[in-house]
Structure formats: C-alpha cells, structure tokens
Amino acid sequence: MSLLAVHELVAHYGDFQALFGVDVTVAQGECVALIGSNGAGKSTLLRSIAGLIPARAENVVFDGTPIGAETAPAIARRGIALVPEGRRLFASLSVEENLRMGTFSRRPGPWTLARVYDLFPVLRDKRATPALALSGGQQQMAAIGRALMANPRLLMCDEISLGLAPAVAKDVYAALRRVRADGLATIIVEQDIELARTMSDRAYCFTHGRVTLTGRSAELTRPQISAAYFGVK
C-alpha cells in the first residue's frame, strides 16, 4: 500500500480551478518528481496535501487514513512536512529558532538540531543570525532543516533550486540525497527536468491542472516529457 494516495483531487482559488481530478501516489521510501510549466498545478497539489487548500477527506489518504479534510496543523502532526516555494523562513526569528519551529509538530525522532547542523554545518555558524540575513542557498538549507526537524514521514520540497546558482542548487540536492539515504519518502517539484529525473524514482508531468504523463523517471524519454510539458499531443 502506498504511503500517500491522492485521488481525484480538485482545487480552486476562488473561481479559478487549479486542479482537475489529479491522482498521485507515493510509496514508502520513494522519491516522486512533479514537473510541468508554471501554473500547471504542482505547488497547488503540495498545498492541498499540506492542508492549506480545502479538499474532501477521501481525496488525500495518508498511511491508510483519509486526511484530505484535516487542518494544516493536524496534517503536520501526522508527519507531512513542506519546504515551501520561496523558502518562507520566519523573518523575525533567528536561524536556530526557524529550525526549532519544526518541533511544533511534536514528532520526536532522529532529526535534532545537532543532526541538522551536521548536515548543513554553515547553519551552525549562523545559528544566531536573523534568518533573512542568510544567502539564498543557506536560506534554502534552513528551510529544509526546518522541515526535517518535524521528523517527517513524507517530505515535500517545492522548487528548492529556485533562484540559486547552479553550483549551490547541486549542493542542496546533494544534501537532499543524504537525507533520503535512510528511505524518507519525498515529493520534489523541480523546473530542471534533468535534475528531477536523476533525483526521482517516478515522475508526474502536469499540464493545466491535469497529470498528462507519468512513469518511471529513468524510462521517460525527452520527447515524451516535452510533449507533456507543452501540452502538445
């Protein structure tokens, strides 16, 4: 049985419909990539899973429990953590306080401040700095560390390479690989298709709020992806 099963999920922003019946599954220990152009619905899917956009209970099933209708804090406490697009660190909190925010989901486990600092040593040196004084790459590390502090069972990373220099983005993904070494189920949203393919086990391609292509990442061909990406049949 899959850890996460999204079934026929629809989502609206006011009158605008962003998702039209989306089905996505994530197995235990799996890394799933969501690809597609801007506005295709990838972030909307993550926000719906996190409980920030209302859904019906049976639309999102986590570990056998229908959670689609639960609030964001309740879903966080079940072990679904989000690294949001644009990082969204808390501006009036220090780096270490931002990391400690992850502990409000009250999930003890292997991830502690010490282990996050071992993963990202630069954050240890900057622990007392205001979070927004960090460089873009360091902020992204802090946002990932904050999500890990919740000891999630499912980690959702929304465009963690966005706005970063290619070398820095590589470092961030290298760290994510180490995080995943012990089998943490992960969803990544990534614009860099090559990066998304090498990082993930399976991929879903989104176009205009629908899944237009899905398969094992290693088996998807570039022409298939381009066709799905641009909505060309």
């Binding site: 609030t71 964001a72 808390f90 009036s92 009250r106």
Partner: protein
C-alpha cells in the same frame, strides 16, 4: 514652572500609559489587529476592581492580580468564541466586532453604574510621597505603577523572546500560513495572546481607577493613548512601547504645564510628528 518636576511627573504618568499600551501591543504584535474595545476593557477592569473592593474590603493591590487572572480567562474565551471567527483575509470584520464590543461594554456599564464618575480608594498611600531633593517629590503610588509597568515590559520581552510560546507568537505574526504548516494552531495562539493582553489591561484598569476618576464612556480615550504610545515606540519591542508611553506622558505633562488646555493636544502632536517623520516608530525592531 519647575521643568524637572514636570518631566518626572510626565514620565510617571507615562508608566500608566505603558500598561495601557502593552496590552494593545501584544495583540497587534501577534495578530496584526487592533482591538477597538481595548480602552473599554481598561474601564471594565476598573469597575470590576471597584465592585470587588466595595464588596469585600480587600486592598486594591490584592484585587488587581485577581482581576488580571479573571480577565486572562475572559480574554481566552472571548478570542476562542467570538474574535477568532472574525479573522480571515479581510481586515474589517475584527474591527467591526471589537467596535461592537466597545459599544456593548459602555452601555452595560452605563446601565449598571450610571454615568457618575467613580474611583478606587487606597487611603493614605494615595497621597504619600517621597522627596527627591528640595523641589521635587514623587508619589509612592505613581512609583508603584511605574515599577509595575517596567516589570510587565521585562516579563513580556522575556516571554516573546526567550520562550517557545513567544517564538510561536512571532512566527504566526510573520507568516500565519507557514506557521500552520509547522503544526501551530493559530486560533489557540491568538487566544493565549488575548489572555495575556487582557491580564495586562486589568492591571492597567485597576491602577487607572486609583489614579483617576472613571466613567463608562472613558474607554475610547485610553484606546487612543495606547495606540499613540505603540506607534511612537514602534513595533517589535515592548521596551519601545514602554518608551513611547513615557514620551507621550512627558509630552502631555509639558503641554499641561504650558496651558491646562494643551496637555492632550501636545501628546497628539508628538504622535503626529512621529507618524510624519518616523512612521515605523522611534524604536522599531520589527522585520517589516
């Protein structure tokens, strides 16, 4: 005119204003909302203590912390049952609802206590003073108020900057959506903030009732003083709010010394000057 005396008395008055203002600053700092009924809660605090003192004969200094406890519980319940339902993307509903509360409180007080002015008596302590040099004496009671305000500012700074609750308060003010994704229940946090605010408001109300006479319609003035002190001080620090209140108190005292009709006006002018020249406040520490 003794200039030194004017400034010292103004600063002591500012201590009372600091207690007024910190309750408002707590709610604004966490929810980014202004509680329009804030001043009326101060007056309600004074009436509550007045009734209890009259009925039991207890010292107002014993009644004050009890009132604070009761108000904290009341604030928690009020936020959970009413004000949380008004919060959303629109800023108007909580303003309208707290404005409604203001009207209700004023009229209930008018119905129960009439429009007569009341005050809370503390006996000889009300007029006792200590001499500081040949030409300067300060009252014991204003000193107690000032010391309480200092202690409350220090306590709030501690709670907001050194505790998990304070960290959660700052986070939910920064980004309510992501705070929820971290597992924080914002409705619960807002209720804690209102509980803290109303506890401070109750203390402020009892001290106000000892220092001044009070009547049911006095609240809106206290809301304005509180708001002015918060704006002068700037957001993000209770010491800033404290300092803003002292500046407001001194400005009013200087105005009164120049002409009895200018006191309140002088306070408003300082407030407007800060809005014009330093709209973020004199001691802002906030990230915005």
């Amino acid at each position: 005119m003794n200039a030194m005396d004017t400034v010292v008395q103004g600063a002591l008055l500012g201590g009372l204003y600091a207690l007024f203002a910190m309750g408002l600053a707590v709610i604004y700092g966490v929810m980014r909302q202004v509680n329009i009924a804030h001043g009326d809660f101060i007056v309600l605090g004074a009436y509550s203590a007045f009734v209890v003192v009259a009925a039991t004969g207890l010292s107002p200094f014993v009644v004050a912390p009890l009132t604070a406890l009761v108000f904290a519980a009341f604030g928690y319940a009020l936020q959970r049952t009413i004000i949380n339902r008004t919060l959303g993307n629109a800023i108007l509903p909580p303003l309208v609802v707290t404005y409604g509360l203001s009207i209700i409180i004023q009229n209930v007080l008018l119905q129960v206590f009439s429009a007569d002015a009341r005050s809370i008596q503390i006996g000889a302590l009300g007029t006792a003073s200590v001499a500081l040099g040949a030409h300067l004496a300060v009252g014991w009671f204003p000193l107690i108020v000032f010391g309480t305000a200092l202690a409350v500012a220090a306590l709030l700074e501690f709670v907001f900057n050194r505790t998990s609750l304070g960290m959660a308060f700052r986070a939910v003010a920064d980004d309510p959506e992501i705070a929820q994704v971290m597992g924080l229940r914002d409705g619960q946090l807002f209720a804690y903030a209102t509980a803290i605010s109303l506890a401070v408001v109750a203390l402020a109300g009892v001290f106000m009732g000892i220092k001044f006479t009070f009547a049911p319609a006095d609240g809106p003035n206290f809301l304005i003083y509180s708001f002015e002190a918060v704006v002068i001080g700037g957001l993000g620090s209770f010491w800033g709010t404290f300092a803003g209140a002292i500046i407001l108190g001194v400005a009013q005292a200087i105005g009164f010394a120049l002409n009895p009709g200018w006191g309140i006006l002088a306070g408003h002018l300082v407030f407007l000057a800060v809005l014009v020249y330093r709209p973020t406040g004199l001691f802002a520490r906030s990230a915005q």
